[in-house]
Subunit: 718 residues, 2 copies
């Protein structure tokens, strides 16, 4: 069952059961591979694929297919796919685009189960190519074959039982724990190349090109269950099926470190001027909410993605953010310290005992401060002793070392000392080495011992910060939504009974009724019916609400009632009420009018729901009133939430440009109340899949546990 489906059942949050992905084992673990378009021309894709399969030591059969050649790379070539004797699960197709559908048909007849289409000239070049792509897909479906591509770079699997290199790229296959999944072949290659330079091997590698059949989400879901994969490094240009991506990301996030790059970070998405939830949730908001729920990290640059993957692949996760910073040259050490703090790490506060122990083992030139500077003269003994002390200290969760290679020190021995200290600790160590080729032994020793090594101190600190963020994501408890707080059948009944206009908007009274059914109170209202006497309305208001009241004119599309002059406050008596209605009528003739009990005091919040993708409603929380316009003053999360997740979301709705002391302090005391309202709203959004958008602005949070009261609400369904 998909995540969206599971949510609609309202019974479970965690994703259970088998992966929804089709079986990709014929792609990643084929018994035999044929290469259509195999060639002896070294500068051809067909040659390169055969070469790569051979060089990587593919454990299955390799069958070059070419109409005339006898031999390719020393292997016998076959004139057609039907001539191949052994079992062929996978073909690599490097033929002209217009020949691909027919070739696939022959493959299907020969029992092939999957194909990688390297050829370009399909949907990416226009309508004619799109027709060819459809033909290829249809042919494959007819034979029950899976397709990677067309316009695909290919895939790899470094599993020693397989050793598959079915791609035309140049970076050799080195086994390791990182799986690379990338729309762009260029980016996949870049990531692989730099991981290899960092001494990190890969597990799977796939670049699906046009993704007419197998796409990144399915690859991600498959990698989620691959035991050899510990880190998934993913580059996404666009998400075709957001619910499928969510499903795969949530699966992958359970056991793997998931690092995600997404193209198109700019333009920032022209921020909508109006403050309704839908407008605020523009751009990558749903995507980021999915990553956040999955415990994935979104990486800002390719470089930082490689650095993070390197550190995670090679080091244990820290238990916290308290990082010791060690150097033998102060300036680079300070740079590491600065960037560590900027990246969210905390500089470990060393105890007196730790300081004393360090002092004892170091030269008088060493400085034991926030930065532990061993001085350029420090040798292997000083390094080993300092690292052992710091890594054994309870107040240290991880260690960043920045070292230069002074010519008057035995730097190889220093590297060995560092490697040994790191290897005997269960805390992560990340190293920056400042040196040139004459000390290449230092880097080699550190790398081969499993340490991540970086050229710049800032890169080392950022890698440690990524390790720490992954660790924090891992330790978050899964959300466990309190479904019992809501009465599903009552919600459904109220929705059925609601008046809904042609655009899907519920009447104001019905929107409030929906909130009431979810257990979110609103200030009571009296609606002025079109056919009612004004005097009767006035008496009803006086009797049911009492004064003072607020009078509002309500129209679809009127988001900022207050700013539009459609809200009159402080109506203190009957005469003022008549005057207010008259004034609003003259201005908003056709609008619905209603009076609402005036609620003063409390903190103004905004809550909202937007369901842009089926089964993936987002909830929003933030500061109400005009503060909504402040960038960053609202935050989004995937529904449903429990109280812990709701409180986290509320804490995330601080505007970083502000010292939001007032909001922080005020909301802290009343957080539980606001969280309960948010949880209820999130459950409602999941239980009623037709809800498209809800805005509660403002929601007043009354002090001293007085509860939350919605003062305005708009709700739209499909």
């Amino acid at each position: 069952m998909s995540f969206a489906g599971a949510l609609r059942q309202g019974a479970t949050l965690a994703v259970e059961g088998q992966p929804p992905a089709g079986d990709l084992s014929f792609l990643f673990r084929p018994r035999g591979v044929a290469v259509l378009g195999a060639s002896s021309r070294e500068l051809s894709i067909g040659y390169r694929v055969v070469r790569n399969l051979l060089d990587a030591g593919f454990t299955g059969g390799i069958y070059p297919v070419h109409p005339t050649e006898r031999e390719v790379c020393g292997l016998p070539a076959f004139h057609s796919i039907s001539d191949v004797p052994g079992p062929i699960d996978l073909v690599n197709v490097a033929l002209r685009a217009d020949r691909v559908p027919e070739a696939l048909d022959a493959c299907g007849l020969a029992g092939v189960r999957a194909a990688i289409i390297h050829s370009a000239g399909f949907a990416e070049v226009g309508p004619q190519g799109a027709v060819l792509e459809s033909q290829a897909l249809e042919t494959a479906r007819r034979h029950g074959m899976r397709l990677l591509g067309p316009n695909a770079q290919g895939l790899m699997n470094s599993d020693p039982d397989v050793r598959l290199y079915a791609s035309f790229t140049f970076t050799p296959l080195v086994p390791g724990p990182v799986t690379i999944l990338a729309h762009s072949g260029g980016v996949a290659e870049l990531l692989n190349l730099h991981l290899r330079r960092a001494g990190v091997g890969i597990r799977w590698y796939a670049s699906p090109g046009n993704s007419c059949d197998v796409d990144l989400s399915e690859l991600l879901a498959a990698a989620a269950t691959d035991e050899g994969t510990r880190v998934i490094l993913m580059y996404i240009e666009s998400v075709r099926d957001m619910p499928a991506f969510a499903d795969a990301a949530l699966r992958a996030g359970r056991d793997k470190a998931l690092l995600v790059l997404k193209a198109g970070r700019t333009p920032d998405g022209a921020r909508a001027v109006t403050s309704h939830t839908g407008a605020l949730a523009s751009g990558d908001v749903p995507f980021d909410a999915i990553l956040n729920r999955a415990g994935a990290l979104r990486m800002p640059t390719l470089r930082e993605a490689v650095a993070a993957a390197t550190a995670i692949a090679r080091q244990p996760l820290p238990r916290g953010r308290r990082t010791a910073l060690v150097c033998n040259a102060g300036g680079p050490g300070i740079a590491a310290l600065d960037d560590a703090c900027l990246s969210g790490l905390e500089c470990a506060t060393l105890t007196d005992a730790t300081r004393a122990s360090l002092r004892d083992s170091q030269s008088p030139f060493a400085t034991i401060g926030a930065l532990v500077d061993l001085a350029a003269t420090a040798g292997p003994l000083e390094f080993r002793s300092a690292l052992n002390t710091l890594l054994a200290a309870d107040e240290v969760d991880g260690l960043v070392l920045s070292m230069v290679t002074p010519f008057f020190v035995d730097c190889d021995a220093v590297a060995d000392a560092v490697a040994l200290a790191a290897a005997t600790s269960d805390k992560p160590v990340v190293v920056n080495v400042i040196t040139d080729g004459r000390w290449s032994g230092v880097e080699d020793r550190l790398r081969s011992s499993g340490l991540p090594v970086f050229e710049f101190p800032e890169d080392a600190s950022r890698a440690m910060a990524a390790l720490t963020r992954v660790a924090e994501m891992r330790t978050r408890l899964p959300v466990s939504p309190p479904w019992e707080r809501l009465d599903r059948s009552r919600l459904e009944a109220v929705l059925r009974a609601s008046r809904i206009n042609s655009d899907g908007w519920l009447s104001q009274g019905d929107a409030y009724a929906m909130l009431a059914a979810a257990g979110i109170p609103s200030a009571p209202i009296v609606v002025l019916r079109d056919d009612a006497q004004l005097s009767a309305f006035v008496e009803t208001v006086a009797r049911q609400l009492g004064f003072p009241v607020v009078v509002k004119a309500d129209m679809p599309g009127l988001v900022h009632k207050l700013a539009a002059g459609a809200v009159l406050l402080n109506i203190a008596d009957r005469a003022s009420l008549v005057a207010a209605v008259t004034a609003l009528r003259s201005r908003f003739g056709e609008a619905h009018m209603y009076a609402q009990r005036q609620v003063d005091g409390g903190i103004e919040a905004i809550l909202g729901v937007v369901a842009q993708y089926p089964g993936l409603p987002l909830v929003m929380a933030g500061q109400g009133g005009t503060n909504v316009e402040k960038r960053g003053s609202v935050a989004f999360a995937l529904a449903p939430l429990d109280d812990v997740a709701a409180l986290r979301l509320i804490a995330g709705s601080r505007c970083p440009a502000f010292d939001d002391t007032a909001w922080d302090c005020e909301i802290q005391g009343e957080g539980a109340q606001l969280a309960d309202a948010l949880v209820r709203l999130s459950l409602l959004a999941v239980i009623l899949p037709t809800v498209r958008e809800i805005d509660i602005n403002p929601l007043t949070v009354l002090p001293s546990g007085g509860g939350c009261i919605a003062l305005d609400c708009r709700m739209r369904v499909s």
Copy 2:
């Protein structure tokens, strides 16, 4: 004359005349160098310095000095400095700290003019070391010797006439246009190392350690007049003498690209809760204001500093931000595009003619969009043609190329084509190459042709952004302050006549009088004298101001009068005025009271002055009222300003977290008025060097050219 001195004369903005720095030619262009502590032990500093002097091919005499050795590195060694026959301008001292003062004395007697003290064990290790450092400095002064250090790594000068490598580091001396000045030897080495990897050589290099005599500011002032220096890359841990640094930075900024790293970017400086100018100008604000006036760039990381220096050293400056982005693999191209936009570049909008010309020369697989993707099959012809077309296009100011090295393309020929196209254009080109060691020829060809080459696409875009920012700084006109707007003698007379309390605060009336003397009007006030009859005050108010008025209680230290309840608005008649004064008296007994004409409407701004360092007053402008609390809603600049600089400052006071549409639109129409007030305030701050702090909050900018009116003002002098 120093910048500060020139400013006080009020006659000139540009720094004129000779550099104030002492002559450092004996450090950078010595005729002979002696090495005290020279040694044949290869792992000693004394050996390494002699070795480096020899290997770099120093053009003067090299004289190892050692009490017993006969020869060091094949050169005859001398037993004492007095035995050296040739002229010695410079000594490198690698002796134990306690022997340094005596050795310097001997050097002085032998006619040495400058010394680099490599030895550690001085002020950096505590009081005893500080005494030694004083002795060393005193000895040097007695002999008229300049000192670099102690605890200094040393210096270099790659001038072919000199070829001085007076340092114990390991990176070989490669001549080039970049001068490195860094407190930290480790950072200096790191910068040099990575510049060398990028193919960029250095001109000067200096790391002054404890800087007891020659410091970074003096080195900067000297580099400012060095013809061989085109880029100055500077790393600063702390500034001892801010006016001297300002003076040097302004000199350097006139002719050089000045890139500055400053340590200690965190903690961000606990932001003061109160909104007076002094509190807002915390942390690095004065430093950044100096860099901004000097046209210098502050770099966020060591890596970006190296990248920027590389690009500036190797490429011409662009005329604008419009950047063409070219690639042969879409994904990395998009990453380059994203980071280009995030870094402030604009993606060039290609004309139809340019597009048509590109289309003609490229394969059908090429995509001509915001990103020009030539496709992986593009060869030398396609690259050359695309680059020539784009670099010739009027709508393109610079070009970022991201290229992979497909094995089926002649990549060396592509590199040559790119190099040729770049070399024949006066627009900058920056390249990202994604490849491995098998294509090292590609990088070599590009680098040796003068192109900056980066491993990651984002790095290439950021380097282009740095080039563009330098270009924009260069084209800013020098500030030309309109001194004639202010009457210096009147300002001085009003200040002399002012009542000033023991903390330096001017009385409220005198503060307004100072503004009036500067041509900044304020709302008229009537002060209630301690001995005056209330009834007489009321009559004076009615006669001189008319109603409504505002009544204020004024006390030193009361910054937010309104929030403290010390301002009563809308006093409409005599009776209300009596009641208001009575109410304020009961609350603020000892405070001064005054009435002020109430001014309604207009836009609230805040202006301020803070003079933390003598001769370097900063002016502040921003949004008034509570908006001052918004981070980034105020901006600072070094005084004085002209109208252009004032408008730029006002534009810089937008809070980036806001869509400050209201502020932008409102202020746009009235910018000239606000700028005039700001210019006047900045001139006042320079003309009266005892002014420490001024806050005008709010300053109301009246619509339709109605002028600016200060509604509250505090002023402090020393």
